[in-house]
């Protein structure tokens, strides 16, 4: 029970509601207090001004017509409906005329220039009632004194009004706080709970699950979309990983089994050094091929894991392409393939000479292996050109090419088109190139060389001097 209460007190809904309530209460107290105070001051000033004006008026009457006229004026004023307070007293403080029933005599001796508050009793039917008023006393010859005042009950009524509104507002705010609490807990927190529940399901292994998106476009939707994107990426990576491990299992287990069987077979039967020798040589050859496949896989994993290799520099893509073409040229010539190079202008890019050379080498090697058609003089074209903000290296052959629908697929690891299965190769060449391009924030585009396969490597071009060593 205690823990249930504790959990309730810890919920965001409860805390938010409490914070809202406290903040708005403080604001309301301040606001109403301020308004009350200013209104009070304003009303008091108005009353004082009214009293001052009447005092001046009575003084005028006295100057014009003496005590007699003053007496008449006060009598008239005091009888008017809704009149203020008036009193004319003689030198001993006895009331002569006016509408005040009882007043402490000391007040009449106070000759202050401004009105000040007093308590007094006035006739209200037959009853005497105590009231508070602002009064000012005026002295005349012969000890006569006139008192002019205004009841401040009006002002106090305003104050009561504000007090009442304060209580109402506070009540409304508590209700609003409850509504906020309801809204936050029902609407907002429910969605967070949904996210939590979905995450728990995903953690449990169901990577296909996605966070609910209401389509309202609010921050929860944006968060859900971002998380869903992330989940999609993770799902892709997991699928890729599974595919790779399946392929590794197939592509590495097969030669390993072959190797094992060969050795097993050599050991059986009559001892024969010649047979042993050939079995051992074949084993070494096979293990070398396995090491190469492993190296290619490690290389791809390494390049894809990102990070800058130690040797990144500004390098000349055209220079690298010329070197690689020159490197492969004798092999091509031996195979009866001509390599045409069109990479005259320097094309600086930021990257690793080694990785770029390896990517281009893989493309040329692929073209040599798979880019030939019987009865057509094979030509491999290696070109580098600037294209707007990118430097593009192209390796094209004039072989059979790759059908448009197959282009995406050949980039996958270990994928080898049926036609090439009989030829040597790990099936990792193009995926290594793709990994190198991702590493360089570039892209790889397979196209039609008409006839043949054309591979464009787009690198972001940079300006600046080319490092000697790259």
């Amino acid at each position: 029970m205690v823990s249930a209460l504790g959990r309730f007190l810890r919920t965001t809904a409860f805390r938010l509601t409490l914070v809202y309530l406290v903040v708005f209460s403080i604001v309301t107290v301040f606001l109403i207090g301020y308004v009350t105070r200013t209104t009070n001051e304003l009303l008091t000033r108005q009353l004082r001004e009214a009293i001052d004006q009447e005092v001046a008026e009575l003084d005028e009457q006295y100057q014009a017509g003496g005590l007699r006229r003053l007496l008449t004026a006060i009598d008239q004023k005091s009888r008017a409906p809704g009149a203020g307070l008036y009193l004319l007293a003689d030198f001993s403080g006895n009331p002569v005329v006016g509408n005040i029933a009882d007043i402490p005599p000391a007040i009449l001796d106070d000759a202050a220039e401004t009105a000040h508050p007093i308590r007094y009793a006035r006739f209200d039917g037959d009853r005497k009632q105590n009231h508070v008023a602002l009064v000012r006393v005026l002295q005349f010859d012969g000890g006569f004194r006139a008192l002019v005042g205004r009841d401040i009950g009006e002002r106090d009524r305003f104050r009561d009004l504000f007090g009442r509104s304060f209580r109402v507002v506070m009540g409304v705010m508590v209700v609003l706080a409850l509504v906020t609490w309801w809204f936050v807990s029902r609407r907002v927190l429910r969605r967070i709970d949904q996210v939590t529940a979905t995450s728990a399901r995903i953690v449990a292994g169901d990577l296909t699950d996605r966070l609910p998106v209401t389509g309202s476009g609010d921050e929860f939707d944006r968060l859900a979309l971002a998380v869903n994107d992330m989940l999609g990426r993770i799902d892709d990576l997991m699928k890729g990983l599974k595919e790779v491990s399946d392929n590794i299992a197939h592509d590495l287990k097969t030669p390993l089994t072959r190797m094992r069987n060969r050795v097993d077979e050599a050991l059986g039967g009559e001892p024969d050094p010649a047979r042993y020798r050939s079995a051992l040589e074949a084993t070494i050859e096979e293990s070398d091929a396995l090491i190469r496949t492993f190296n290619a896989l490690l290389m791809i994993a390494r390049v894809e894991s990102g990070g800058q290799p130690a040797e990144t520099a500004t390098v000349d893509l055209a220079g690298i392409a010329r070197e690689v073409a020159e490197f492969y040229e004798p092999v091509a010539e031996e195979d009866g393939v001509r390599i045409e190079v069109d990479a005259e202008l320097a094309a600086p890019v930021l990257g690793s000479r080694e990785l770029i050379a390896q990517a281009l080498g893989n493309l040329i090697d692929n073209a040599l292996k798979y880019g030939r058609v019987e009865g057509r003089a094979a030509v491999i074209r290696v070109a580098v050109a600037r294209d707007g903000a990118s430097a593009v290296a192209t390796v094209a052959d004039n072989g059979t090419g790759v059908a448009e629908g197959e282009r995406e697929r050949v980039l996958s690891r270990f994928v080898r088109l049926e036609a090439s299965r009989s030829k040597p190769g790990s099936g990792l060449g193009l995926s290594l190139v793709a990994a190198v391009m991702r590493h360089h924030r570039g892209s790889m585009v397979l196209g039609d060389a008409g006839p043949g396969l054309k591979v464009d490597l787009h690198f972001p071009a940079v300006e600046g001097p080319i490092s000697n060593k790259g």
Partner: protein, 226 residues
């Protein structure tokens, strides 16, 4: 040559010791970083073969410490990490060569021998000679028995590297790394084709061949008269 092998894998070390002895060298073995450092700093070795990952002390730190002591004994670094940046790290630490595991013994032997003889005087020679083949590094010209042999720039560098290591086995990867500065596997027999081109220019029509293929290992340029 006296060779110190700092390698924690007993089996690999025993295999190396035996094979190096058979190749006519005098190998010693240290099984961890501390022993390796003590034996290496004692001096007297022509080449050190250092594994990168060792118990007690990292292989690279041994090399760094030796270089800080102005010990310039050539070092071949062995590592299971074969990537380019690891190689760069190894060479920056003061290693002279880097070999990724798994390696063929012939590869290791060729590299160790190349390192061991690197320090002999004459490294800065302007003229390299093997038999009647003369390579002039200043004028970039090559003659065979007085006859001019026209070579492409890359062929010149290839021949220069071979002649610098005359009488030693030079592997395909050594050529790839030192002549082309590539550290990847070119997938095809590119090096062999380059070599056969060079051989056609250097040895063709000559009575005696200077360029030899060493089966299962690589190439060697050798004066047959000696």
């Amino acid at each position: 040559m006296r060779i110190l092998i700092i390698e924690d894998d007993r089996e690999a070390a025993q295999y190396l010791l035996k094979a190096l002895r058979e190749a006519g060298h005098v190998p010693d073995h240290a099984a961890d970083g501390d022993d390796g450092w003590h034996m290496a700093s004692g001096g007297g070795y022509d080449v050190l073969v250092v594994d990168r990952m060792l118990p007690k002390r990292d292989g690279l730190s041994i090399v760094e410490a030796l270089r800080a002591d102005h010990d310039e004994t050539p070092v071949l670094i062995l590592s299971a990490l074969g990537q380019v940046d690891d190689r760069v790290k190894g060479l920056r630490a003061g290693g002279d060569d880097y070999l990724a595991k798994p390696y063929a013994f012939t590869e290791l032997l060729a590299r160790v021998e190349a390192l061991g003889r690197r320090r002999r005087p004459g490294e800065a020679e302007t003229t390299l000679r093997v038999g009647d083949l003369v390579l002039d590094r200043l004028s970039h010209s090559v003659t065979r028995a007085g006859q001019d042999v026209p070579l492409q720039p890359r062929e010149f560098r290839l021949l220069e590297y071979l002649m610098k290591h005359a009488g030693q086995v030079v592997t395909r990867t050594m050529l790839l790394e030192n002549v082309w500065d590539y550290h990847f596997d070119p997938q095809t027999n590119v090096i062999d084709v380059h070599m056969s081109r060079l051989r056609a220019k250097v040895d063709k029509g000559q009575e005696r061949s200077l360029l030899h293929t060493v089966r299962g290992a690589g190439y060697m340029i050798r004066d047959p008269a000696r």
